[in-house]
């Protein structure tokens, strides 16, 4: 079977795509909080997330090969805002 160029992305893409719930859990761990406490539209800044922790999260999520721009994440620091960014990138790669 020939490998088409479109297949290559799929090969390097993470086995498990990033989910909204994984993001919620990652954020909660950074904040020493229970995931249930992270509401979709809560300002993550108000919950105690700072820029360095946010950057760390963005770096973690980009490890699978997603090209994420931190500045986009800085603009909308909510779980819903960030999920929109991630899901758009993952959709573009799919």
């Amino acid at each position: 079977m020939a490998i088409e160029p479109g297949d290559i992305t799929r090969i390097v893409a993470p086995a498990a795509p990033i989910t909204r719930e994984r993001m919620r859990a990652d954020i909660a761990r950074m904040l020493h909080e229970d995931p249930d406490e992270i509401g979709g539209d809560d300002s993550l800044m108000d919950l105690g997330l700072d820029s360095m922790r946010a950057m760390n999260l963005v770096l973690t999520w980009s490890e699978g090969g997603l090209e994420l721009e931190f500045s986009d994440f800085a603009e909308t620091p909510t779980l819903n805002g960030w999920w929109a960014l991630i899901s758009a990138k993952q959709a573009a790669r799919a």
């Binding site: 360095m52 922790r53 946010a54 950057m55 760390n56 603009e75």
Partner: protein, 1302 residues
Amino acid sequence: MTGTPEAETFPLAEAQAGLWYAQRLDPANPLFHAGQYIELTGPLDRAAFAAALAQLVEEADALSLRMIDDPAGPRQCLDPAHRPALELIDLADAPDPLAAALADIARDMATPLDPTRDPLAAQRLFVLGPSRHIWQQRVHHLAIDGYGIILLTQRVAELYNAARTGNAPGNPLPSVRVALNEDAAYRASEKRAADGAYWQALFADRPEVASLAAGNPASAFTFHRRAVEIDRAAFARLRALGDRVNVPWPDVVTALAAAYVQRHTATPEVVVGVPFMARMGSAAARVPAMLMNVLPLRVAVPAGAPLADYLTGVARSLTRARRHGRYRSEQLRRDLKLIGGQRRLHGPLINLLPFDEKPRFAGLESRLEVLSTGPVEDITFTFRLHGTDGLRLEVDANPDLYDAGSVEAHAARLAQFIAAASDADTLDTVPTATPEEAHWALVTLNATDHPVPDTTLAALIEARMRETPDAPALRFEGQTLDYATLDARSRALAEALAERGIGREDIVVVALPRSLELVIALLAIIRAGAAYLPVDLAQPDARLARILASASPKLVLAREGDAPRFAGVPVLSPAAWPRDPTGTPLAGPKPGDAAYVIYTSGSTGEPKGVVIEHRAIVNRLEWMREHYAFTPADIILQKTPATFDVSVWEFFLPFLTGCTLVVAPPEAHRDPVALARLIRAEAITTAHFVPSMLAAFLAEPSAQGLSLARVFCSGEELPADLRDRFHRTLKAELHNLYGPTEAAVDVSYWPAARDDRSLSVPIGFPVWNTRLYVLDEQGRPQPPNVAGHLYLGGVQLARFYLGRPDLTAERFVADPHQPGERIYATGDLALIRPDGAVVYLGRSDHQIKIRGLRIELGEIEAAVMASGLVRQAGIVAREDRGTKRIVAYVVPEPGADLAILKARVAAKVPDYMVPAAFVALDALPVNANGKLDRGALPAPDFAGTGQRVPETPTEQRLAALFADQLQLATPIAAEDDFFTLGGDSLAAVALLLRVREAFGRDPGLGALFAQPSVEGFARLIDAEGQGEDSGLDPLITLVAGDPALPPLFAIHPAGGISWCYGRLARALAPRRTVYGLQAPALAPDGAVPSSLEALAADYVARIRAISPEGPYHLLGWSVGGIIAQAMAVRLRDLGCEVGLVVMLDSYPCDVWRGEPDPGEDGALKALIAIAGHDPDRLPALALTRASVLAFLRASDSPLGRLPDAALDGVVRVVAGNNRLVRSHHHRRYDGTITHIRAGLDHQGRHLSPDQWRAYAREVAVIEVPALHAHLTGPEATAHIAPTLARLLAAEDFKEPTCATAV
């Protein structure tokens, strides 16, 4: 101007405002540019790139900002004409296109701009070849911050990639207006007020801010940069550690870098600056603009804390700081009033960039080089992630504060520190120095191995004495001993000691003043094989008894009269010493035997006896002899008291060298006048000074211009300005030595040469077979320039503290770096300079030094407590008004009589350890840690206790001098004692200099010690004045100098008194005897002579009586010059040799003859002028004898202290001189007149030295910038004295010529 008047203007964002003022203050500084370039390799689509850039500058409107300097405050507007167009620079044909591009970029970055006029940004594309380009961006910091540049770069890449791939380019960058609106909203918000309150509370105590280098952190025009890669494995460990403790790895790195800074400042806490993007969660998150803030981060590094705890603690502080991170640090500085000077909010910057900034251009390789991110005030540590697991450290530093070498060192050391910390459980186990630095500090610098014969002082000296038996060995007060005699007398005494059973490892006390016998005693003791123990008879019996009890000496060598001080120990006084050896064999010492024992102050109150062996002191002396190339021609001065170990080399080095030792008279060591005389008279080549005494010595006029081969300093810190003053004053090498008594005198040396520019004069490098370590608390070597504890090792270490194994074990410890060796903990703090020289920084304990004498405050405290009069005592050395003094703060026992406290303490400790003041308090102030709060102790009141107001003019004047010298504002009573008022012996030396200037005489230092009260010392001054010369005799000695030099005779001006020449006489170097001739008519019965010729003849007779042989040097001011010329003619008549004839601004009688005799009014005016006042400025003063005399009494002129009869005499003499001058007719002097002209005077009057040409063979004119009336003042003397000294020297060495005139 391109902006239109209608253009909308905005105020500056807070972040911009700080930069605006900084750039306005430093308009030529190009470091306000942020800049970077990206090298693009591959087929660049130039059209797509140009389109992407055009789109970028359209979106990023901050790039077209223009500043407006409005009187109401700076504003800005968007100026489309300032929008940067892409410049295309084709260098493809250049020989080296890359180099040409980089040179162009460097030039561009180094060009400052005016933000009100010039475009703030530039976008430049260099074509190096078909597939090689460099894209440079340069944007003024007012328009952008580091994060903003990344946004610009990424946007260009995004637009370029979209054009190349056909994908959507993403959202445009928002306008700068969004950021400005946000800024305005924040400024007005409650959030800002809350943020401000947070920071103000956190910094309410205004912590001290330390950094890695001293100096003013103001950005230079360039900076140093060194980059280094953090070890990949270590970085991976740090990330894993961060994950484990749930701290983002960038915060882990920040915390470690802060700990690294703390290692260098040695403060419990540091404040570092952490750049903060200030965008998170804001509408301005994607706006390229200047929004960045610097957060001050307080970091304490507690010893022993687990690394995880430390990291989580710092991370918590960082999170809190970021939560309040939009509050500007400039504003916080203003809130805290840390404005101006060097008041800083934070030290080094630690900047983490935890993302790969390299842009991704489709089909191209790119390489990013960040050129500048703005001004570098101090030092910035930037950590950049590259790829996914690489971390690069960039160190940028201000070149005014750091040299390139130390920047390189910091890069390597911090990388090493972080790598080591990644593996550690606690930072305590992480060394500061790199392994290379540790090896250099411990081994390379201490490679001092040098062969020294394994012998004894006695053997070396005996060999030398036999070699040159006839050479002079020892001189003291005019007596000289040759080596043969010294050998015989010291051997005879050694035999006498041996007969008494004294030999190896016995101790013999020496308690003799400086004398021939003292030197003989020391030599005899070591030749007998014993160790000598010098003791000071001035110390109290109690302390002496403790020393004797501890040392158990076999014998005491002391004068007969002092024998009772040594109850229980046999005393052998010099009268009983045999002079001729019998030839009995002497066992002599072995190299490992004790050579001497010297007691130093001990912190427990008990003096400590330091035992030094022969091997140790032989090393020290042989090093010195060879290192400084001593020869038998040297003449070494012995002036240090034997109880101070500096004396050891003074005593013995001469006899190892075969040269001469000159022993200064007792007490001369603290008398600069006596020392200068001795050094000159004995042609001393080598002398030692404690720095504070050197300062006093250099201030002594007669020391000016002295020439020696070398001068050694030790005992205290040598200040840099003293080194420079030394080289301006004396001609000699200056060497700074360092060493405690515990290590055979000195262990390090530094040539403090004329061209040494060290701001802290180092103690230098180790001597032979010696190690100097600067260690941290864990005993690890410190890197260069980092303070640590100074330890000494090597052959010179003392054996132990006599009879105190506990103290010995505490200070002499095992060398952790040389198994089997010992090191001595000096208690000194030091650092090693990058050139290897050690610099002394201070004490780590309460030991202090006053005038080179080592003092343990604990010993004083013990003495104070032992008085039984106080419940609590705190002893401090405090510096008030420039003088360091010991002050005892005490809480008295109820009902205790503190009047006797000083006497009780003085009975226990030597005089130099008795506190200058005792201050009674209800309780001692303590700080939070329960320690004595030194800052809260009141300044001692040195007011005297006397009642009687000074009465006589001498008392009044002397009281004023006391107050002046001691800087006392309170009135001084006649009974007050100079030393009780806070004076010490150095202040006493300075006082005597002033006394000499004011009174023209000086009873001497010994007299002041004997009579330290105002009334007592005034009596001595008066007595001296009325002694052999009342000050008004016709011939007085102004200065007694070298008898080999022909004296200078100074003839009085119009008033008949010649005291005015005192200053000039004292300033002459070499010191020469200067006599003053004064009018005989000053005496009540003195007649005014009939003519000036008769007066000159009388004076010639007087000078020939005192000095029968010529040549006669003559000098006179004003009328004195006229008389000098007449005397020169008269001397030639008599066939005498005339030397110099010097006139201070005298003019021939012809010019005065025509003027009317000023009469008595004129005489009185002249008297006022002689006293140093301008009579024309005292119109209210009635020109009567009574009122003028009253005025002079009230003034500070020495004339005011003359008895009435003498003042009458002065008025008479002034009038008489007016008459004599008018009737005098000059004869020609067939020689040279040297005329010193007052260059600032005589405007509009025809007075010229040429007018003397008719009356001399030659007139040599020297002009000085002074008024006639000020010719003997300090400024004019500074001009005249060196010239006069040179002329006198030339005259003295002139070949005697036949008299040319008869």
